[in-house]
Structure formats: structure tokens, C-alpha cells
């Protein structure tokens, strides 16, 4: 009698059907108890109700019609008298206004080029040492911008210049920091492109900043950064107010001039991006200075920073916008024409700078005191210590908060409709609905605007996640 000895291992039998696959996943995640089962069923019911309303509405969408009434007729004809449907024809007819306001159609290539250049100019600060992602941004941006430029009928010369800039950017993208020059020049190019006028305007305006930079470079060794910056600002101010107007007057007016476009024609997302991007760009440095000022031991600097931050944070944005558009006019003589858009940009910048200052102060407070002491022990002066040791760490901690402020700011640009600027959400929609053909269009404009805002804000949010992952140096 031989004992039975198994010579082969048995194949492991699969887990029971209720523990694996779709069923197992559902048991574990959706129906793991009676409370969860009820919640799941309720959620499915709500989702069904929502989709059974929304999907047919989207599916019945009409793209070609002359009026909202005609849309309804077409839907009734195709899908029966009780069918509801979206009337996208309003977007098809008026998308230009949602994107550009009343910017002249034949000049649309200027904001398009401006937007393309903005993305390229952002590459250097956003992806300083990450050439792979820099190329990922530059390549599609270039292609899309060129296609859109062609579609908008840009002059051939402009197309040529755009191609040259994009090729240059692609060539430099192995080290994106090299593109910082582009970033520095961009604001002036953008103002020239958008508002038009002779090229000498932005070139001379750059002159002021060159003077400021040169003065700081020359004197900061002997006088220190703050004092030399002060002298530089005075010198630049002299240039802008005294020398520049005379130079402008002596130059011919049509030198490389673009057709001027009045500010009141700016609207839609063009306006939202102008206010949003320029405010974000200026609020970050101002916010950093305010945060440092608030932690400073210098009595006046400290109190001024605290006063500014607390005052601005204590006042609602709407109040500041009303001040910008209406009350300033009381104090300015009537000859002074000070563009509403510029006033709004300045006050929105102040507003978000105060919030950013507090976010960054949180980051500064999160650093151990030893960091500052170590910098002192190395013999670094105040600005070197901040630039090389304190701020890189503090800003890294503050990224989620800063991006939060930026996203909020970008969406807050729609509030400018209260001061009669043509924001995409309320300003342009009011104009579109004033046309009797589209008076009844309700959801479609909102959905269109929401979609564009979502893309922009989601992009910012993803970038923040990427940056956090990239700067992560701890081992958590």
C-alpha cells in the first residue's frame, strides 16, 4: 500500500465570483452595507434624471439658425413638438463677440498672435529647467497660432515674424531659461499689438525699465538694493514723464504703426485675459514684497505693508471696482482721460497682491528660524538671503494657496461687468440678448463661457500639481 503523495501543486482556484471582477468591485465599493446601497441607488436615480434631461437636450442641439425661434421650430420639426434642445446657433453667430468683444474683425490676428506669444513667453518662468514640457507647450501653441493667424487673415509679414519667433523659441527650448528675454519683452509687445499705435511707444516705455535696471546694477554695490532701486525709480519716472513725451513728439507718428483700437471695443475673453494675466503678473512680485515688508523689522516699511494689506483685504472687490470706474473721476480733472480698463487692472492687482502677501507670509512662517540664521551665519545680506534661501522654500510651500488666489482672480474678472466693461459672462451676454433674435437664449451662452473658464482654470490647477511634484524634495 503506497501512500498517496501529490507530485504536482494544484492550480490555485480563482476567488469566488462575488469577490472579484466587476461584481466584486461593486460589492466592495457600491453595496458594502445597506446605507451605502441606498446611497448608491439614490445617486444612480439622480444621475439618471439629470442625464435623461441633459443628454437629449445636447443631442437635439441646432447649430444653424437665424434666430432662437427658428431653432425651436427646427427642433420641433426634427424631434417632435415636445422635444427640447440646445440652440448653439447663438454661439455660432456671436462667438466673435464672446472672444474679442467689438475688436475690429480685420484686426483679430493681433489678439490671436498676442495669445500665442503669451503662451511662449510663459514657458521660461513656468518650465525653467524642464525642456521636455517646454517643447510640449511650444510645438502645439506654434502650430495652432499659425493656423488661427492664417484663418484670421494676418498679413504675410506678420506670419513670417511669428514663424521666426516660434522657430527661435523651439530652438532655445532645450534650456527654457534662455527664453526669459522673450518674457521680459512680451508685455510691451502685447500692449503695442492690442492697442496699436507706433512701435516707438512701447520701445520708449522699455527705456524706463532699462534705466531702472542700469541704475540698480551700477549703484547697488555701493548704496545697497533699496536705495539704488529708489534712485532708479526716480530716474525712470523722469524718463517717462519728461523725456519720453518729447521724444515721442519728435518721432513720426506712423513709424511701424498698427491701427489704434479703442479700449471700449475690448470685450469678452480678450478682456478677461488682459485683466487676469496682467493682474496675476504684477500681483505676484508685489505680493512677495508686501509679505517681506510685513515681516520686516523696519518700522515704516512694516506698518505701511500691514496697513495696505489689512485695508485692501477689508474692502470688497466690487467696492474697489466702483472706486476705480466712478469715484476716481471726481478727483481727476476732466481733461485727464484715464482708461477704465487700466484703473481696473491696477485695483485688481492691488486686491490680489494683498491676498498673495498673506499666502506667502504663511509660507514664510512655515520655515524654521534656523534657515534665516544659517543665511546670516554664511554672511549673506538680506536680499541674498531672501533670494537664495528663504523665498525658494517659502514659495514652494505657498504654491497651492497662490494658485488658489490666481484662479479666484481670473474668475473675478467677470465682476467688471458691474462697472460696464464687456465681460464674457454678463456684459456680452446682455448685448447678445438685446438682439431680439437671441433674447430667449438662456443656457447656451452660460455653458459656452463656463467651458472656456473651466479649461483655463483647470490648466492652472494642473500646472500647480505638476510644480508641486517637481519641487518635491522631502521623502514623505
Amino acid at each position: 500500500m503506497t501512500a498517496y503523495v501529490r507530485k504536482q501543486m494544484l492550480e490555485p482556484s480563482p476567488p469566488p465570483a462575488s469577490q472579484q471582477g466587476v461584481i466584486g468591485w461593486m460589492r466592495e465599493n457600491l453595496f458594502s452595507g445597506w446605507v451605502n446601497s441606498i446611497l448608491t441607488l439614490a445617486a444612480i436615480y439622480v444621475l439618471y434624471e439629470f442625464l435623461s434631461l441633459g443628454l437629449p437636450w445636447l443631442w437635439h442641439g441646432v447649430w444653424v439658425a437665424d434666430s432662437h425661434l427658428q431653432c425651436l421650430e427646427i427642433i420641433a420639426e426634427r424631434f417632435g413638438p415636445d422635444a427640447s434642445g440646445a440652440c448653439w446657433a447663438v454661439i455660432r453667430e456671436r462667438w466673435g463677440q464672446y472672444l474679442f468683444g467689438f475688436y475690429p474683425t480685420e484686426e483679430w490676428w493681433r489678439p490671436i498672435l498676442c495669445f500665442g506669444l503669451m503662451l511662449v513667453a510663459l514657458v521660461a518662468p513656468l518650465f525653467a529647467d524642464d525642456s521636455k514640457n517646454a517643447q510640449w507647450i511650444i510645438a502645439p501653441t506654434s502650430a495652432l497660432t499659425l493656423v488661427l493667424l492664417g484663418g484670421a487673415g494676418a498679413p504675410l509679414l506678420v506670419m513670417g515674424i511669428a514663424v521666426a519667433v516660434f522657430v527661435l523659441a523651439a530652438w532655445a527650448s532645450d534650456r527654457p531659461v534662455k527664453l526669459l528675454v522673450l518674457t521680459g519683452v512680451y508685455p510691451f509687445v502685447a500692449v503695442w499689438l492690442l492697442w496699436g499705435g507706433p512701435l516707438s511707444g512701447p520701445v520708449l516705455a522699455v527705456g524706463g525699465f532699462v534705466i531702472l535696471w542700469a541704475v540698480v546694477k551700477l549703484f547697488s554695490g555701493r548704496l545697497g538694493v533699496p536705495l539704488s532701486a529708489g534712485i532708479g525709480i526716480v530716474a525712470a519716472f523722469l524718463w517717462w514723464t519728461v523725456i519720453e513725451p518729447r521724444l515721442t513728439a519728435s518721432l513720426p507718428h506712423d513709424l511701424l504703426a498698427l491701427a489704434p483700437v479703442e479700449s471700449e471695443n475690448f470685450g469678452g475673453f480678450l478682456l478677461a485675459f488682459i485683466i487676469g494675466v496682467s493682474s496675476i503678473g504684477m500681483a505676484l512680485p508685489l505680493g512677495i514684497l508686501l509679505a517681506l515688508g510685513r515681516r520686516s523689522d523696519l518700522f515704516i516699511v512694516n506698518k505701511l505693508s500691514v496697513g495696505f494689506i489689512e485695508f485692501v483685504r477689508g474692502v470688497p472687490l466690487i467696492t474697489m471696482l466702483f472706486t476705480a470706474s466712478l469715484l476716481l473721476q471726481y478727483f481727476l480733472p476732466p481733461q485727464v482721460q484715464f482708461e477704465t480698463i487700466l484703473r481696473v487692472i491696477i485695483l485688481v492687482t492691488f486686491f490680489s497682491a494683498a491676498y498673495i502677501a498673506e499666502v506667502i507670509r504663511g509660507g514664510l512662517a512655515g520655515l524654521p528660524k534656523g534657515q534665516q540664521e544659517a543665511a546670516d551665519a554664511l554672511g549673506l545680506d538680506y536680499w541674498q538671503a531672501q533670494r537664495l534661501i528663504i523665498l525658494p522654500q517659502a514659495l514652494k510651500i505657498s504654491i497651492p494657496g497662490i494658485v488658489n488666489v490666481f484662479i479666484g482672480l481670473f474668475k473675478d474678472t467677470t465682476l467688471v461687468s458691474f462697472v460696464s466693461l464687456m465681460d464674457p459672462l454678463r456684459g456680452v451676454t446682455a448685448i447678445v440678448r438685446a438682439d431680439i433674435d437671441w433674447k430667449a437664449a438662456y443656457w447656451e451662452p452660460y455653458l459656452f463661457v463656463a467651458a472656456i473658464f473651466f479649461v483655463a482654470c483647470f490648466g492652472m490647477s494642473r500646472y500647480a500639481l505638476y510644480l508641486e511634484a517637481r519641487l518635491k524634495t522631502d521623502h514623505r
Partner: protein, 338 residues
């Protein structure tokens, strides 16, 4: 900054602001265009079209004023103003003139320190209901739900009306015309109330306008008209008499088409004075002799402007009603050009 310097700056600012309002007409002439406060978008009354060109009943009055001052109706800049900002914008000098369906009321005239120089549209608050509600008078609306725009005089009028008639209602608050239209057609409210002109334009956009009726009761007086600042009388006169020129032109049968012919053939002394062929009417206002002629030639007389923007030939289909000339049973009456 020390205190003296601060006060000095403030005084200088106040002084220059005071000087500014002393001569609005001169400021406008120096600037080369009229800044006209208008609506951010109201069907038929004032809105830019898809090219950015402004059109509408109120807009055409601004264009007529520009034509009267400069002889060119394009020398006007339209500043879109919301309900909240319109009066501050006028008071601060951001606009010279407000033509934005603003109701002439006691407190706006006195407390806010404005002058309503004319009434270019007599409006009133009405109700629209679905036909199958079976209601033929607003007094039968006891217990109804009513869609109403918040923060407007119409809200207060509504409360007054129901209280006076001892009936009740439930308000459904909406933010604007578009939302009201949506709520009303979806059945969220039994009745929608706003100015009668607004009801007409809303009804015109419905797919089945015949299923809705506008009730006969008009529960408030809403005289809408152009507004200037208090103490700005010379400029106010320019606006007022430009408007009266348009009315007189309709009364005398002068249209955009026949104005040149009338100017050469007329024997009527008042028409001659109006068109600047006799006397020096323009000079009394500080304008050219042909100011009224230019204003009429811009977009026609009052009746033509009405018909082109909101009249029976447009989708809005407003009848003249109270806005007919006094000779035809309406309230529009221009003092004599003499």
C-alpha cells in the same frame, strides 16, 4: 504727506471738478464728442449690434444731440451703464447725458441732483399671463406667483398695487429679463411684471405669443427721459430743445426724406425758425443755426425714430399709445419754437 498738502490737493480737485461742470457744452465741443450713458443692452431701446454699432430708441436721441452740437451724428461715444452705476457715472462727469430708460422720480430729481429735461417715452408697469390662466384683469391675480426683477421700482409698485387691492401674491425673484423669460415660460410663475415696453419685447420672442396676453392694467407711471446734472442748464437746454425739435418735426410733417425739400419750399414761419432759415435760434443755445435741421436729418423725426426701433413694423410692435403726439390723443407736446 502732510495735512496741508493733502487738503490743498483735495481743494484743487474739488475746484477743478466744479469748473468742469460749469460748462459741459464747452467741454463737449473741446473734446469733439458727446459721452452718452446708455443701456448695457435693452432690446429696441439701446444696444450694440453684432458689428458694435449702437442702435435703439434711446440711442437715436443721443445721435440727434450729437448731430445738433457737431452737425455729425457719429460724434458720440456710448458708455454702457448698469442700473447700479448710471447715476454715479452721470454725477461724476463720466458721461454728459444719460439716456437709459431712467424713470423720472421726485427723489432722483431732487435728492440725487439731476434734471430730467424731457420725457421721450411714457411707460408704465403691466402684467403678462398665460392665456389658459383664464385671467382678464390684474385684480383677479389673488394668490398668484409673480416673477419680478429685484432691486427695481417695479418691485415696490407691485407691492403697492396688491396692497391697495387687498389681494395677495407670492414673488418669484429673478435677476434679469432673460431669467424672467425662462422662469415664466417654464411655469415657475403665473404672471410676469415689468414695464409694458419690456413685456411687449419679451412676448415677441416667445415661440407661441398668441398663448400669452398682456393685462390691460398699467399700475404705475414710468416717464422715461434724458437726464443731465443739476445746475447744468445750458447743456440741459441743448438736449431738451433737440428733443423738442424732433417732436415739432413730426408735428409739422418734416421727415428725414423730405427735410431738404421742406427747407426750400416752406412758407411756415415756425418751420423756418426751426430749420434755422430765419432768426437766430441756434445762437441762443450756443449752437449753429442749423442745429435742429441736423438733428432731424440724422435719424428722422420722433415718429420715425419710434417706428424704426420699437414701432409696429419691428418685432417689438409697440403702439404709440401715450407717446402719440398731443394732436393724436397722446402726451407728446413740444412748446413753440419762438
Amino acid at each position: 504727506m502732510n495735512k496741508t498738502l493733502f487738503l490743498g490737493t483735495l481743494t484743487a480737485a474739488a475746484l477743478s471738478a466744479g469748473l468742469a461742470s460749469a460748462g459741459t457744452l464747452d467741454d463737449i465741443k473741446a473734446r469733439g464728442e458727446v459721452n452718452c450713458g446708455s443701456n448695457t443692452g435693452l432690446t429696441g431701446f439701446g444696444a450694440p449690434d453684432d458689428k458694435g454699432e449702437w442702435h435703439g430708441f434711446d440711442v437715436d436721441l443721443c445721435k440727434a444731440v450729437a448731430a445738433a452740437v457737431f452737425g455729425d451724428q457719429t460724434k458720440v461715444k456710448f458708455v454702457p451703464l448698469t442700473g447700479e452705476t448710471r447715476f454715479t457715472a452721470l454725477a461724476s462727469g463720466e458721461v454728459d447725458l444719460l439716456v437709459r430708460n431712467s424713470t423720472w422720480t421726485y427723489s432722483r430729481d431732487t435728492d440725487l441732483k439731476f434734471d430730467f429735461v424731457a420725457v421721450n417715452y411714457y411707460d408704465g408697469q403691466g402684467f403678462m399671463v398665460k392665456k389658459d390662466l383664464g385671467v382678464s384683469s390684474a385684480k383677479e391675480l389673488d394668490g398668484a406667483t409673480v416673477c419680478i426683477q429685484t432691486g427695481t421700482t417695479t418691485e415696490l409698485n407691485l407691492a403697492d398695487f396688491f396692497k391697495a387691492n387687498n389681494i395677495t401674491y407670492t414673488p418669484v425673484n429673478v435677476a434679469d429679463d432673460g431669467e424672467a423669460l425662462r422662469q415664466f415660460t417654464a411655469g415657475a410663475c403665473d404672471a410676469y411684471t415689468t414695464d409694458a415696453s419690456g413685456l411687449a419685447s419679451t412676448r415677441a420672442t416667445l415661440p407661441d405669443p398668441d398663448n400669452y396676453i398682456i393685462l390691460p392694467e398699467i399700475i404705475s407711471k414710468e416717464p422715461l427721459g434724458p437726464v443731465v446734472r443739476h445746475g447744468d442748464n445750458a447743456w440741459g437746454d441743448v438736449v431738451r430743445w433737440t428733443y423738442f425739435a424732433l417732436l415739432t418735426a413730426e408735428e409739422k410733417g418734416i421727415t428725414k426724406a423730405n427735410i431738404e425739400e421742406v427747407a426750400t419750399s416752406t412758407q411756415d414761419p415756425e418751420i423756418k425758425r426751426l430749420l434755422g432759415l430765419e432768426g437766430d435760434m441756434g445762437k441762443m443755445l450756443g449752437l449753429d443755426a442749423g442745429f435742429a435741421k441736423a438733428a432731424i436729418a440724422a435719424n428722422g423725426n420722433y415718429g420715425e425714430i419710434f417706428e424704426a426701433n420699437i414701432g409696429m413694423s419691428t418685432p417689438i410692435k409697440l403702439a404709440r399709445g401715450l407717446n402719440a403726439l398731443w394732436t393724436q390723443g397722446g402726451l407728446q407736446y413740444a412748446p413753440p419754437f419762438r
